[in-house]
């Protein structure tokens, strides 16, 4: 920083060459991005004084504008959008650019609010889908349980059939006296066969239900994966913003 200039005013009045040198120094540091330098101790008697004051004024406005715009954008990259560039004191391009930045942060504010709402809705959706997955899991388990029962049922049917067969044989052995009993045994055998074929039909249906429910579970898992990826992407976007933020602050 080179604002301090130790010339004692009144002691010595500088010639124009000195002021041209001063003006050049200040303008060069400004063009190098150092907006700190100013011409100090301006001799208002010098005919160059208005020019020197104009240089200072130009730098004051540029400096103030850079600080204002930088602050507003630094806040925005921190996710705070209420920090507007204060337009007072700025004219022309400064004023217009300030308005442009403000429109941008107003827009960002709006988008951020919508994004937040969408995130909330997505979270709710994820919860609903997780519930659906749980319910489908229960359904899947229930059908497995039913399938295990089929084994038992068909075993019973087979055994019933065997019992009926044995009964028919025994009935035949006792001759005429066993005739009525043989009719009952054959009815029992028919019932056992019907029950077996019905069980097979139901088993077929249950297998279909299981296929459908495992497809449902697969679809739900894919949906959850996509939603998870979206959450990760949103988090990464926020992280990236934090990375680019640092130079905005230090500027």
């Amino acid at each position: 920083m080179t604002t301090m200039n130790h010339t004692k005013p009144g002691q010595k009045s500088y010639d124009d060459t000195h002021w041209v040198k001063e003006a050049t120094r200040v303008c060069l540091s400004a063009s190098n991005g150092d907006l700190e330098a100013r011409v100090l101790h301006i001799d208002n008697g010098s005919k160059l004084a208005p020019m020197l004051h104009a240089i200072n004024q130009m730098l004051d406005l540029t400096d103030a504008f850079v600080r204002e715009a930088g602050a507003s954008l630094a806040f925005a990259s921190d996710g705070m959008y209420f920090r507007r560039v204060l337009p007072h004191g700025f004219r022309g391009s400064f004023e217009r650019t300030a308005a442009t930045i403000n429109n941008a942060t107003i827009r960002m504010d709006h988008d951020a609010k919508e994004l937040k709402q969408a995130q909330g809705e997505r979270d709710e959706l994820v919860e609903d889908i997780k519930t659906a997955k749980e319910v489908s899991g229960l359904l899947d388990q229930a059908t497995r349980d039913i399938e295990q029962m089929f084994a038992v049922i068909s075993d019973i049917a087979n055994r019933t059939n065997m019992v009926a067969l044995n009964a028919t044989i025994e009935a035949a052995r006792v001759g005429e006296a066993g005739r009525g009993f043989a009719v009952v045994a054959s009815e029992v055998s028919k019932l056992a066969q019907q029950s077996t074929s019905l069980t097979k039909q139901i088993q077929q249906n249950v297998i279909s239900i299981r296929q459908v429910s495992s497809q449902t579970i697969n679809s739900i898992e894919r949906i959850l994966e996509v939603l998870d990826r979206q959450v990760v992407q949103a988090q990464e976007a926020t992280l990236n913003l934090k990375d680019v933020k640092a130079p905005a602050r230090a500027a």
């Binding site: 920083m1 100013r38 101790h41 200072n56 004051d60 204002e68 920090r83 204060l86 004191g89």
Partner: protein, 175 residues
């Protein structure tokens, strides 16, 4: 040298499209004051350069505002504040000040900068009673430290009761 605190009660003004600019070193000693500053505060550049910025301090300003200001800028943050300043002749002028640190290429704070605009009249209506309140609290204590230790919580409490951060309060006021 005894500090001249005499006041005239006269208010001075500057234009809406003007800004009062000053720069200080890290200790708050003035290294630059623009023409508008000199004209409004009635000091020459020579009288200001090298002096502590409290040269324009007005006794109506609560101490905790400056404590807050320095806490913010010395930790690298910008700060906005409504400030009433004292002119050389005892007149006063209100400003809406923006104070920011300036960094060197290594990211270290090397100086401070302030630009001041004409404050919004509506905002001042709300700020004045708040400052009065803070000042009343401070006047019950003797040392500067006791003063801001008592009034700063009142300022913070006020913000909390409004549910706003300091920055949000400032921007709500000037919106």
């Amino acid at each position: 040298m005894a500090r001249d605190w005499s006041l005239t009660g006269n208010e001075r003004f500057f234009d809406h499209d003007e800004i009062i600019v000053s720069k200080t070193d890290t200790k708050g000693r003035i290294t630059y004051a623009n023409e508008v500053f000199q004209r409004v505060a009635l000091y020459t550049e020579e009288e200001l350069l090298g002096k502590s910025h409290n040269i324009v301090r007005h006794p109506d300003m609560p101490r905790c505002v400056f404590k807050f200001l320095w806490d913010r800028i010395s930790t690298g943050h910008e700060v906005f504040a409504y400030v009433v300043n004292r002119c050389k002749n005892g007149d006063y002028y209100w400003v809406f000040a923006h104070v920011t640190p300036t960094y060197n290429e290594h990211g270290r704070i090397v100086s401070y900068h302030s630009s001041r605009r004409v404050p919004d009249a509506g905002a001042l209506e709300q700020i004045k009673p708040l400052y009065r309140e803070l000042l009343d609290i401070e006047q019950r204590y003797r040392t500067p430290r006791e003063q801001w230790e008592a009034s700063l919580p009142a300022l913070v409490g006020k913000l909390e009761s409004l549910g706003l951060s300091y920055d949000e309060l400032i921007f709500t006021l000037c919106a």
